[in-house]
C-alpha cells in the first residue's frame, strides 16, 4: 500500500481527486449559504408582513373581525401553504388551521424555525409570533417541508458527484499507474540489459510521439552515441595493444637475448642503447596518444587566440626547408595574405608539421611538396599540403586518419600511424575537417578551418 501511494502516478491522480473535491466544496458551500438566507431571511420577511396585515385587521375590527378574517383565509387557501393561529392570552385557540399552540416556541417575538404539530404530524415550520393588544397571540407560519425534496436532491447530487469523482479518480490512479509502470518497467528492463553489456538493445519507441516515445528516442540517440564511442575505444585499445606489442616484443627479445648469451661489454652496451630506443618508440606512441586524447577532449579550445594560419604555416615550412633540401625535394610555399582563425597556434603548427612530415617521408627525390594557405569563397581558411609521392590509395582514404591505420605504401616507413589522426583531431577541434584528395599523382591533404571555431565538437 505504501508503495502504491508513493507511486508518482497515484499521488498525481489522488492530488487531482482532492483538488476536484475542494472545487465541489467551494461550489456547494456558498450555494447552501445563499439557499438558507433565501429561506430564512426572505421567507421571514414575507411572514412578518403578513403578521403586520393581520395586526392591522385586529386594530380596526377587533378580535371578532380578525377571527372572521382568519377563518375566511383558512377556508380559501390551499391546505398547508400558510399556517395561521390566533389564541387568547392563555393560548386557547380562537381561529386558525393549527389545533393548538405548538410546543417549543420561545416567548420572544420574531421568526423561529421549529418542529410544529401540523395536522397531526411534526413538520419543519418557520413561525412568526406576534402578541396583540389584550394579550392575544398571533402565529403566522409556513411549512418548510416544501423545500425538503429540493434540499434532498441537492445533497444527493453533491454526494453523487463526490462519489463519482473519488471512484473515477481512484480507478484512474490505478490504471495510470499500471500503464506508466508497464512502460517504465520496459525501459528499466532494457537499461539493465544494456548495463549487463548488451549495448545493441534499444528502448521501445512507438510512432505515437508522446512524452515517453520522445524520451525513448532521446535515450536511444544517447545509446547510439555511447555505442559508437565504446566501439571507437575498443578499436583504439585493440590497435594500441597491437602496435605496442611490436616494439615491446622487440625489447623483450633483445633483453632476453642479452641475459642468455652474455655478450662482451661493447656489444652489451650497444644492445642496451637499442633497448632504450625501443622504449623511446613506445613512449612516442604514448605521447602521441595522450596528445590525441588531449585534443579530443576539447580542453585546448579554452586557450584559443587569433592566429594567422599563414604565418604559422610559413614558420613550419621554414623549419622543414633544410630537411627537404637535403632530401632533394622542391619545397614551395604560397599564402594569399593573412588567414586569421581562432585557434591554438602550437596545435596548428603540429598539424602542418605532421602533414609535411608525411609528405617528406613518402616523396622521393626529385619530388615536389607545396604548401598553400588561402581563404575559400565562404571565408573558411584552407591549409593544403600537396606532394607528388605515391599518395594514398582511394580505398584507404576514408580510413587513413584512423588511429594506427597504415596504408600498404607507408607500411615500411618510420612512424607510428598517428600523424594524420592528430591532424584530423586538430582540424575537428577548430571546427573544421581534414580532406585527403588525389593530387594526380600524389596526395593533396587539406585542412579546412571555418571562420568561427565554435561549431566543432
Amino acid at each position: 500500500m505504501n508503495r502504491f501511494i508513493r507511486s508518482s502516478a497515484v499521488s498525481w491522480a489522488l492530488g487531482y481527486v482532492l483538488l476536484g473535491l475542494a472545487a465541489l466544496v467551494a461550489f456547494a458551500v456558498p450555494l447552501w449559504y445563499a439557499w438558507n438566507v433565501t429561506i430564512f431571511a426572505g421567507r421571514e420577511e414575507i411572514l412578518r408582513n403578513d403578521a403586520q396585515r393581520l395586526t392591522d385587521v385586529f386594530a380596526h375590527e377587533g378580535v371578532a373581525g380578525l377571527t372572521a378574517h382568519i377563518n375566511a383565509r383558512v377556508g380559501m387557501q390551499i391546505a398547508g401553504e400558510r399556517t395561521l393561529l390566533l389564541t387568547d392570552a392563555n393560548y386557547r385557540r380562537l381561529a386558525g388551521n393549527l389545533a393548538a399552540w405548538p410546543q417549543g416556541i420561545p416567548e420572544t417575538p420574531g421568526g423561529h424555525a421549529v418542529m410544529a404539530d401540523l395536522a397531526g404530524q411534526p413538520t419543519h415550520t418557520l413561525l412568526v409570533q406576534t402578541t396583540l393588544a389584550g394579550g392575544y397571540h398571533l402565529l403566522v407560519g409556513r411549512s418548510l417541508s416544501l423545500f425538503l425534496p429540493l434540499e434532498r436532491r441537492f445533497t444527493w447530487g453533491l454526494l453523487a458527484a463526490v462519489t463519482l469523482l473519488s471512484v473515477a479518480g481512484a480507478a484512474g490512479a490505478i490504471l495510470l499507474r499500471r500503464r506508466l509502470l508497464a512502460r517504465v518497467e520496459r525501459i528499466r528492463q532494457t537499461v539493465s540489459a544494456i548495463m549487463q553489456g548488451d549495448l545493441r538493445q534499444r528502448l521501445p519507441a512507438a510512432r505515437s510521439g508522446d512524452e515517453f516515445d520522445t524520451l525513448s528516442r532521446t535515450l536511444n540517440g544517447m545509446l547510439d552515441h555511447i555505442e559508437f564511442l565504446i566501439h571507437g575505444i575498443s578499436n583504439v585499445s585493440n590497435s594500441i595493444a597491437h602496435d605496442l606489442r611490436t616494439p615491446l616484443a622487440e625489447l623483450r627479445s633483445r633483453l632476453e637475448e642479452l641475459v642468455l648469451t652474455r655478450p662482451p661489454p661493447a656489444e652489451t652496451f650497444a644492445e642496451i642503447d637499442a633497448a632504450v630506443s625501443d622504449v623511446d618508440r613506445v613512449m612516442r606512441i604514448f605521447n602521441a596518444l595522450l596528445r590525441l586524447a588531449e585534443i579530443d577532449s576539447g580542453a585546448r579550445r579554452s586557450g584559443f587566440v587569433r592566429v594567422d594560419a599563414a604565418a604559422v604555416a610559413a614558420e613550419v615550412v621554414e623549419f622543414y626547408e633544410p630537411a627537404a633540401e637535403q632530401k632533394g625535394v622542391v619545397f614551395s610555399f604560397q599564402a594569399d595574405g593573412e588567414a586569421a582563425v581562432a585557434g591554438d597556434p602550437v596545435l596548428l603548427a603540429q598539424a602542418v608539421s605532421n602533414l609535411i612530415d608525411n609528405s617528406l617521408k613518402s616523396v622521393s627525390a626529385p619530388g615536389a611538396i607545396s604548401v598553400r594557405v588561402g581563404r575559400r569563397a565562404d571565408g573558411a581558411v584552407e591549409i593544403a599540403v600537396a606532394d607528388d609521392g605515391p599518395g594514398i590509395a582511394d580505398v584507404d582514404k576514408p580510413r587513413a586518419a584512423e588511429r594506427f591505420f597504415r596504408g600498404d605504401a607507408s607500411r615500411g616507413s618510420p612512424g607510428v600511424g598517428l600523424g594524420l589522426s592528430i591532424v584530423e583531431a586538430v582540424a575537428k577541434l577548430h571546427g573544421g575537417v581534414l580532406q585527403l584528395l588525389d593530387n594526380h599523382p600524389g596526395l593533396l591533404a587539406q585542412m579546412v578551418l571555418p571562420l568561427s571555431a565554435r561549431t566543432g565538437r
Partner: protein, 226 residues
C-alpha cells in the same frame, strides 16, 4: 653544483641522484614534500629538481609557491608524469623554471639542469658572445669566425645564439625545439639535425677546428676547446 632532488619514487630518485653524483654534483634527496620544503628553505642550492606529485599533504607545486613567496629564487625543474600543455603551463606559472615529463632520458635532465643553473648565474645582458674565435655581436647581429664574416638567416642566428649561450653544455634537440622554434611536439623526421648540419657548414670550414659537436644519445655541444 649543489642540487636538491625532491622525488618520492625511490627508483627514480636513486637513478637521478646517482647520475648527478657521477656527473660531479653534490646531491641531497628528500622523499616527501615536508622534508623537501624544509631542505629547500634551510640551505642554498644551485638548482632544485621537484617532483610534481608527492605523497602527503604538500605537493610539488605548493612547495614551489611557498619558496617563491619566501623570496627564494633557486631555479627549479619540475618533473612530472602529467604531459598536457595545461599542466606544463600551470607548473611554469606556479614558479617552476623548466618542466620535464617522465619518463625522461638522463642526458635530457642533466642538460636542462646545466642550462638552468647557468641562466641564473649570467642573466646579465651581454652585448657579445664568444666561443673560441667565433664571435656574435647581439646588437649589430654580426657573426664572425676569426676574420671571416658569416651570413646567417634569422633562425640560424637564433639557433647559434642559443648554442653559444650554452657553450660547453649539452643542449638536447627538445631544448632547441622549445627555445628556438617554440614547438613542444616532436617532429618525426630529424629536422633539427638538418638545421644543425646546415649551421655547421657555415661556421666550420674544412680548414677550421670543429666547434659544434654532436653528443651521442643526447644532443649537441658548443665547445671552445678541442
Amino acid at each position: 653544483m649543489k642540487i636538491l632532488v625532491v622525488e618520492d619514487n625511490e627508483r627514480v630518485a636513486r637513478f637521478v641522484t646517482r647520475g648527478l653524483r657521477e656527473a660531479g654534483h653534490t646531491v641531497e634527496h628528500a622523499g616527501n614534500g615536508r622534508d623537501g620544503l624544509f631542505l629547500a628553505a634551510s640551505e642554498p642550492h644551485d638548482v632544485i629538481v621537484m617532483d610534481r606529485m608527492l605523497p602527503g599533504d604538500i605537493d610539488g607545486l605548493a612547495i614551489i609557491e611557498a619558496l617563491r613567496k619566501a623570496g627564494n629564487r633557486t631555479p627549479i625543474l619540475i618533473l612530472s608524469a602529467l604531459n598536457d600543455v595545461d599542466e606544463r603551463i600551470r607548473g611554469l606559472r606556479g614558479g617552476g623554471d623548466d618542466y620535464l615529463t617522465k619518463p625522461f632520458a638522463f642526458g635530457e635532465l642533466l642538460a636542462r639542469l646545466d642550462a638552468l643553473a647557468r641562466r641564473s648565474v649570467d642573466r646579465g645582458a651581454e652585448r657579445t658572445l664568444q666561443v673560441a674565435d667565433l664571435r656574435m655581436d647581439l646588437l649589430s647581429r654580426r657573426v664572425t669566425r676569426g676574420s671571416r664574416a658569416l651570413a646567417l638567416q634569422p633562425r640560424e642566428f637564433k639557433l647559434l645564439e642559443y648554442l653559444m649561450r650554452h657553450a660547453n653544455q649539452v643542449v638536447t634537440r627538445t631544448m632547441l625545439l622549445e627555445a628556438v622554434w617554440d614547438y613542444n611536439f616532436d617532429p618525426q623526421t630529424n629536422v633539427v639535425d638538418v638545421h644543425i648540419s646546415k649551421l655547421r657548414q657555415k661556421i666550420e670550414l674544412d680548414s677550421e677546428p670543429a666547434l659544434l659537436r654532436t653528443v651521442r644519445n643526447a644532443g649537441y655541444m658548443m665547445c671552445d676547446h678541442e
